[in-house]
C-alpha cells in the first residue's frame, strides 16, 4: 500500500512538472525587462518554499521525538532534512545563475542570500553531527536538539527581506508588485509539483531508514539469542 502511494504521488508530480515545463517554456511570454531568464523564478521560489516546509517538518518531528522517544520521528527528521537540503541547494544555484545573468555577479552578501546560505550550512551541519555519533539513541537526541536550534534560524530568512534594504529584488509574488495572473498560477502549480516531489523523496528515504532499523533490531535479537 505504501509503495502504491509513493508511485502514485510520483506519477502525479511528474505529470504536473511536465505540464508546468510546457507552460513555462511554451505558453508564457517573456518578461518585460528580464527576458528569457526570468523563467527560472518558477523553480527558484517554489524550491525555497519547499525547503522551508521541509525545515518546518523536521523541526516538528524533532520536537515530537524528544517528547515521545519514538524513533519513527527521528527517521522523519533526518529524511526530510536531507530532501530539504537538496531543494535549498537548488534554490541557491538557480538564484546564483539568475544573479549572474541579470546583475553580472555570481554572489553577493546581502541579507537574504546570506541567510539562505547559512540555513544550508546549518542543516548540512545537522547531517554531519549525526554522522559523528555512533550510538543511535544519542544520535537521535542530540540531532533533535540541534535541529530545533537550526530551525530557529529559519524565521530570519523568512522575514529578512522585509526588514533590510537588500540587493535582492522585492518579492515578486507578495508585496504588491504587479504580475500577470498566468505567471502567478504557474508558480503556484510548480510549487505543488515540487512539494509532491519532496514528499515522494522523503517517503522513499523514510522507507530506507525504517528498513535499516528493522535490520538493526533483527540483528540485535540474533545476538541476544
Amino acid at each position: 500500500m505504501r509503495e502504491k502511494i509513493i508511485y502514485g504521488l510520483g506519477i502525479l508530480a511528474a505529470v504536473l512538472l511536465a505540464r508546468n515545463l510546457y507552460s513555462i517554456f511554451m505558453q508564457l511570454p517573456d518578461e518585460a525587462s528580464q527576458g528569457m531568464i526570468y523563467r527560472i523564478i518558477f523553480f527558484h521560489v517554489p524550491a525555497a518554499i519547499t525547503a522551508m516546509l521541509c525545515a518546518g517538518t523536521a523541526a516538528i518531528a524533532s520536537v515530537t521525538f524528544l517528547v515521545t522517544k519514538n524513533f519513527k520521528y527521528d527517521a522523519v527528521a533526518v529524511a526530510v532534512t536531507e530532501v530539504g537540503l537538496a531543494f535549498l541547494a537548488a534554490n541557491l544555484v538557480t538564484g546564483s545563475i539568475w544573479g549572474r545573468i541579470i546583475w553580472g555577479i555570481w554572489w553577493t552578501w546581502d541579507a537574504r542570500l546570506t541567510s539562505a546560505l547559512v540555513c544550508w550550512l546549518l542543516y548540512a551541519g545537522y547531517l554531519m553531527l549525526r554522522q559523528a555519533i555512533e550510538e543511535p539513541t544519542a544520535r537521535a537526541r542530540i540531532g533533535a536538539v540541534f535541529n530545533i536550534f537550526a530551525f530557529t534560524d529559519v524565521p530570519i530568512v523568512f522575514f529578512s527581506i522585509k526588514w533590510w534594504r537588500t540587493q535582492h529584488p522585492q518579492p515578486v509574488f507578495w508585496g504588491g508588485g504587479s504580475i500577470d495572473p498566468a505567471m502567478y498560477w504557474t508558480a503556484a502549480l510548480n510549487l505543488l509539483a515540487l512539494v509532491l516531489l519532496a514528499v515522494v523523496l522523503t517517503l522513499i528515504r523514510l522507507r530506507q531508514e525504517e528498513v535499516q532499523r528493522e535490520i538493526d533490531s533483527l540483528r540485535r535479537y540474533a545476538h541476544a539469542v
Binding site: 546549518l122 551541519g125 536550534f149 533590510w164
Partner: protein, 226 residues
Amino acid sequence: MDFIRQVLVITRKDLRAELRTKEAINASLAFALVILVLFSFAFDPTADQTREMSGGLLWIVFAFAGTLVLNRSFARELPNDCLDALVAAPISGGALFLGKALANFVLVMAVELVSLPVFGIFYNVHWTSRFWSLLLVLALGTWGLTVIGTIFSALTVNIRLRELMAPLLVYPMLIPALMSAMQLTMDLIAGKPLGGDNEIWLRLLVAFDVIFTALSLLLLETVLVG
C-alpha cells in the same frame, strides 16, 4: 533564589578553575592580539578603510578567540568524569547552563576588553567616542556568542572530533548575531549613535540573545541525559 544560588556556585567554580590554570584564557588572549597585530601589519589599512572594516575585524577576532574559551566549557568536565558528578547533583539543567554561560561570558568579555585598546593603538582608531553604547553592544554580542558556544559545547561533549565539530556548527548559528554586532560596532566606532538606521540590528541582537538563552535553558538537561 535557590536557582540563582546554584548558578553562582557553578560560575564561581568554573572561574576559579580557569583562573588557576589560565589555559583557555591565555590561548584566547594571545590569539586575539596576534590576529589584530598581524592584520594591521599585513593590510596596513588607511583610516577610512579601518573605519569600514572595524566592526567586521573586531567581531571575527572576538568570535574566533571566544571559541577557544567556549569549547572548553563542557570539555573541562571530562577529565576525572566530573560531568557525572554535575549530572548527578540536584541542580537543574538550566542552572548548570546559566552558571557556565556566565563564567564564559566573563572570560570572553575580559579578552575583548583587553583587545579593544590594542586595536585602538595599532590601527590608530579612536574608539571611545560612543563608549557606553559600544560596551552595551559588546555585552549583547558576547552574550549571543557565549550562549551558542556553551550549549554547543554540551552538545558535542561526548562526540569524537569534538574540537573540529563544535566550531563548524557554532559559526553558522552565530552569523545573525555577528552581522548585527558588526554593523553596530562599525557605526559606533565611526561615531554614529545607536538608534535610527541601526536600531533594527540592535533589536535583532537582543531577540537572538533572548530566544537562544531560553532555548538553551530548556534543553540542556535533554542534551546531557535524555
